[in-house]
């Protein structure tokens, strides 16, 4: 546990210290929230949601921010590889599992912080503060998304030599995961051919879970969302840990 904490602490310290990264990665979600939210608020009516489109996409954008931040945190292992710091960790008498878990929890923590910052912004543009229980549910789902996708990033980083492949992963994996999730549109109104894809996307359940927490309504039962997200978090951690164990420097 000490080791997990040590690795976690380093990640969080580095994150809190990189102000430009915090601000920089707020840019795109804020842009989405403002442009789509205000732009479509009066045009789009979501069936079953009284609060308008803005309130519909806020959970989606929060999930997006958590997704991007956590994938990026995981992928950062490649920097550690290139700047040599990974050797310092790997030559210590600690198990790789501990290192990987610490890294995952660290990445998930930073991703949740990033999502919380965004939620604070959202309060100013129409997010109704939910009760404390709803808020905690939302944070719980953010944490699960964070763990799942940090572990995913670590799995990718364990296999990559440098950052060249990063753009590829972003374009062909992460953007589709975001796009296909119910972050920007309601699942019920999807054409029949698209629905299965959306339901196969783990982020859909994360978004629905956060939405349930923040607005009290969701199209997928929150317990189903919880089961799927928790399952994904465990599965990705196992895969990530397996690949990280075989990392070579």
């Amino acid at each position: 546990m000490d080791i997990v904490y040590t690795i976690w602490l380093r990640n969080v310290k580095r994150y809190l210290r990189s102000k430009s990264r915090i601000v920089g990665s707020l840019g795109m979600p804020l842009f989405f929230m403002l442009v789509l939210g205000f732009g479509l608020n009066s045009v789009v009516r979501i069936p079953g949601m009284e609060d308008g489109y803005m309130n519909f996409i806020i959970p989606g954008i929060v999930a997006m921010s958590v997704l991007f931040t956590s994938v990026f945190s995981g992928i950062q292992i490649i920097w550690d590889k290139q700047f040599g710091f990974l050797k310092e960790t790997l030559v210590a008498p600690v198990s790789r599992l501990e290192i990987m878990i610490g890294q995952t929890l660290g990445g998930a923590t930073t991703a949740v912080i990033q999502g919380l910052i965004l939620m604070v912004f959202a309060l100013f543009i129409g997010l109704e503060p939910a009760g404390i229980a709803g808020f905690l549910i939302a944070v719980g789902f953010m944490a699960l998304i964070g763990v799942t996708f940090t572990a995913f990033g670590i799995a990718i980083a364990s296999r990559m030599e440098d950052m060249h492949g990063f753009q590829l992963i972003m374009n062909f994996v992460i953007f589709p995961i975001f796009g296909l999730s119910g972050a920007l549109f309601p699942i019920d109104s999807l054409p029949a051919w698209l629905r299965p894809l959306t339901l196969a996307d783990p982020l859909t359940y994360g978004v629905e879970g956060i939405r349930y927490g923040l607005s009290g309504t969701a199209q997928i039962h929150p317990l189903v969302s919880l089961a799927v997200m928790a399952g994904c978090a465990v599965l990705m951690t196992v895969v990530g840990a397996y690949l990280f164990r075989k990392i070579s420097i």
Binding site: D2, T6, R10, R14, F83, E88, V91, A92, P93
Partner: protein
């Protein structure tokens, strides 16, 4: 129990043999040097001994623990300064040390105390709260050495500890490494391609070239093994000198234009006699110099090449590689 014992240690990468069946024993408390040109296999050897690479074949023990089957025990016994920097530049020196201390499960109070002792020892105490990215190369190296010592390892690996440092910093580090060994009794194994470094620091040196150890011994013995001191006499008649010096203690003579180079043991004792003989025979001496052999001479003797040649060709190869990569 020896600090390190390697037996036929071999590593190949896709058929290319980087380390080719090397064997050696390092006694506890020694400073042992692996000296060789770039690409000789020094880092690969260190990587195997520090459990970062699995040997292709052969065995080794560090502090009595097998490097393959007792990885964790080996890791607990060693400290290492890698050839390439391995600090987190976004953290302060103190935080880098603290991270290390926690990884090695050193309890809080002891950890804080040792960190402050070590940072003082390497002269970084007043900069301990600055981010490492503001540090110079020498400061980073000192910090890495301090970090490698934090968990009080029995054996310390230093892979090219002074690579790329200016002469003054290098001298400081040398003093520092020698003192560590002296005062704390830590066994040190260092790799280098600097002759002076091996010469100045190491009790024993293994000269390694193309993955094999070509000579091993104390620096004095290595130098003595190639025929002793180097005496150079400049004279109008070098041929006559070569003809005159037939004593059994002369181990080699090379004739050049206007001078001869003679190898012999204990030149200091023989020089007066030589000068007298030459004088008696009426052979003029323009100048005379006596030089102790260097490890460079040893390398040249065993490989027919100088380490400097090797290095130049290594750099050339790297440049070509870069060019090829850019195309």
């Amino acid at each position: 129990m020896p600090a390190i014992h390697a037996n036929n240690l071999t590593k190949s990468f896709d058929g290319f043999v980087a380390v080719d069946g090397i064997s050696f024993t390092i006694e506890s408390g020694e400073i042992f040097g692996l000296l060789g040109p770039n690409g000789a296999g020094k880092t690969t050897t260190i990587s195997m001994l520090s459990t970062m690479l699995k040997p292709t074949s052969g065995t080794a023990t560090v502090n009595g623990h097998d490097i393959v089957t007792k990885e964790d025990d080996v890791r607990k016994s060693i400290g290492i300064v890698f050839q390439d920097q391995s600090l987190d530049e976004e953290l302060t020196a103190y935080e880098n040390m603290d991270f290390h201390g926690r990884l090695y499960r050193i309890a809080g109070e002891v950890r804080r105390q040792r960190i402050s002792e070590l940072l003082t020892l390497v002269g970084l105490d007043d900069r301990k709260d600055d981010l490492v990215k503001t540090y110079s190369g020498g400061m980073r190296r000192r910090l890495e050495i301090a970090r490698g010592l934090l968990h009080e390892p029995k054996v310390l690996f230093l892979d090219e500890p002074t690579l790329g440092l200016d002469p003054q910093t290098r001298n400081h580090l040398w003093d520092y490494i020698a003192r560590l060994n002296d005062e704390k009794g830590i066994t040190i194994i260092l790799t280098t391609h600097y002759m002076e470094e091996a010469d100045r620091l190491c009790d024993r040196v293994a000269i390694i070239d193309r993955g094999t150890i070509i000579a091993l011994g104390t620096t004095e013995n290595l130098k003595a093994s190639i025929g002793g001191d180097v005496v150079t006499i400049a004279s109008p008649d070098p041929g006559a000198i070569a003809g005159l010096l037939t004593a059994p203690w002369v181990s080699g003579i090379e004739r050049h234009d206007g001078s001869v180079t003679i190898r012999m043991q204990d030149a200091d004792r023989h020089i007066p006699g030589i000068v007298t003989d030459l004088h008696r025979s009426g052979i003029g001496i323009t100048s005379l110099s006596v030089r102790k052999p260097t490890l460079e001479d040893v390398f040249l003797h065993y490989t027919g090449r100088t380490i400097r040649d090797e290095e130049a060709s290594g750099k050339e190869a790297m440049r070509m590689f870069h060019r090829a990569g850019r195309r």
